[in-house]
Symmetry: C2
Subunit: 322 residues, 2 copies
């Protein structure tokens, strides 16, 4: 299967974590080197990596800390793992860092309780877990390709870390003639910079539209499916995703277009209202490529995500609950 | 009443038409000098002026041509007026140029039929017509201010050439505590560059949001009214406005928020489906401030306007039909 750099944007090489700098895409494919928790928090805070990349950074950071602290006793290493988890948990809201870090802390505690070597036990578990996720995501690419039929025109929003682009490439190999509309996804333009780039890079056909043009392309019959990712989801099927997903879901229902979402289901949170929404610095909205978009005494409001109630979703394409 | 430069963006001074260059706002308030039809078409095609500014340019262009051709006989001048109308009509779709130019051609024909001096008859009529429009628009600012109640938070999209900013200022004078959300309005960012600027300039409170954040601010209860302008409207109340207006209208209904539109009703077109929609050069979407937003083989689709069915409108605030 053709792979997009965004599908697996962070990998360990010789005890250094190489993290794809998504802020440089589509201009350059370049990796930031991360050696410890501090540097990991830095790439997360600066949004060098997002969504699935954050998940990879979080898990790999524990591998880095185990290597960096190999001379510590198991008990001291457990403390180190707990403090690493605490630091990572505070790096950004919305993404469920604690859900991921608590798994690693649990493994470390179990190693102590069972009297097995903590370093090798936790390392083996993280590596196995990552391998499992990789297999599941590759499987989901196949599921997405199954849902897409010959002749489909699919609207997507923001970016789904390679899966949609790879499904598009798979559909092409299967002889399906398909087309994508990608919304720009202001203010970061992930749709323009990441999604359109990676779909086109793998040979797919993609047309960019302003976030404003969704109702029009739907009403004109130019789109017959919507597929988006999700950053976080709840037991009842509500999910959080990049700001703008909610209105696309509402519009899809209004125009009778099925809305599919790629979920990583979690039962830890019951419903959408219980999820915290990250309100990011308005500066990120009020400028583009370093230039102010306005003049005068103007405020900005930039909720980074919105929460889509499950009633707008036709079908969730899930990987196993974490 | 405090006036915004966008309220009356083109005026004749010593036989030269001074047209506000809206592409330079908010950085500079600067006027382009227009001396003839060719230069008028140029400012329209390059979108130096838009919406109401186009209307002013069209009418004033006839005044320029009457001055430029004062030595012609009335019959030759009629021909000149007809050819001017034809050139203006072709300058851009969506805006109903022919509806405006046909009025002037009618006056010129009537002058000939009635045997009165064409130059002074047409000039007097255009000047009187513009004065009437000005009074009606000032009246509509008062109507908008009446609809806005103390404590309101109003969402607006694109730009309404001064009226909303002036209504906001009037509300403040009336002691009403109100707030505006302005959508950025990609790709030209009229919301950021024009609307937020002019509301703030007249002392109003305004918060910019991405076009993506409409559903969220509505669902969070941050907005209790929507007011937008219209570029063109139909006998049945359907109207065309900047791309993105349609989806805001759909969302307003979904979240139970009343949608108001400022109309210039026209009975010439029966319904929305009969209006042509200008699809602009995708380049205008695929770059921002001269920089490409994407890489690779990516298309763009940029309908400049969308058509909002009248069923989404709570109330149309109209000026007299032209």
């Amino acid at each position: 299967m053709k792979e997009s750099p965004l599908f697996w944007p962070a990998s360990l090489k010789k005890n250094i974590l190489h993290v794809l700098d998504e802020t440089l895409i589509p201009k350059r494919v370049q990796y930031v080197k991360v050696r410890n928790t501090k540097e990991a928090v830095c790439v997360i805070k600066n949004m060098k990596t997002r969504a699935f990349g954050q998940f990879l950074v979080v898990l790999n950071t524990f591998l880095l800390e185990i290597v960096n602290n190999r001379s510590l006793t198991d008990k001291a290493l457990l403390k180190k793992i707990v403090s690493t988890a605490n630091v990572l948990n505070k790096s950004r809201p919305t993404f469920p860092f604690a859900e991921v870090t608590s798994i690693v802390v649990g493994w470390a505690q179990k190693a102590i309780a069972d009297g097995v070597d903590l370093k090798s036990y936790v390392t083996k578990n993280i590596e196995g877990y990552l391998y499992g996720i990789r297999m599941q995501r590759l499987g989901r690419v196949e599921q997405i390709a199954k849902i897409i039929k010959d002749g489909d025109s699919i609207l997507t929003h923001c970016n789904v870390s390679g899966e949609i682009a790879m499904a598009a490439a798979l559909c092409r190999e299967q002889g399906k003639d398909i087309h994508f509309f990608a919304t720009e996804t202001r203010p970061y333009m992930q749709g323009a910079k990441l999604t359109a780039w990676e779909i086109a890079r793998l040979g797919g056909r993609v047309t960019l539209i302003a976030d404003n043009a969704v109702a029009t392309v739907m009403d004109d019959g130019l789109v017959n499916k919507v597929i988006t990712g999700s950053d976080r989801s709840c037991a009842n099927g509500d999910f959080a995703n990049k700001i703008g997903t909610y209105q696309i879901a509402v519009l899809a229902r209004e125009f009778g277009i099925p809305f599919y979402v790629l979920l990583q289901p979690s039962k830890k949170i019951k419903k959408g209202d219980d999820m915290p929404i990250e309100v990011r610095d308005p500066k990120e909205l009020l400028q583009y490529e370093g230039k102010k978009t306005y003049e005068g005494k103007v405020d900005g409001f930039y909720p980074g995500f919105d929460i889509v109630p499950s009633r707008y979703v036709k079908e969730a394409i899930s990987i196993k609950a974490t």
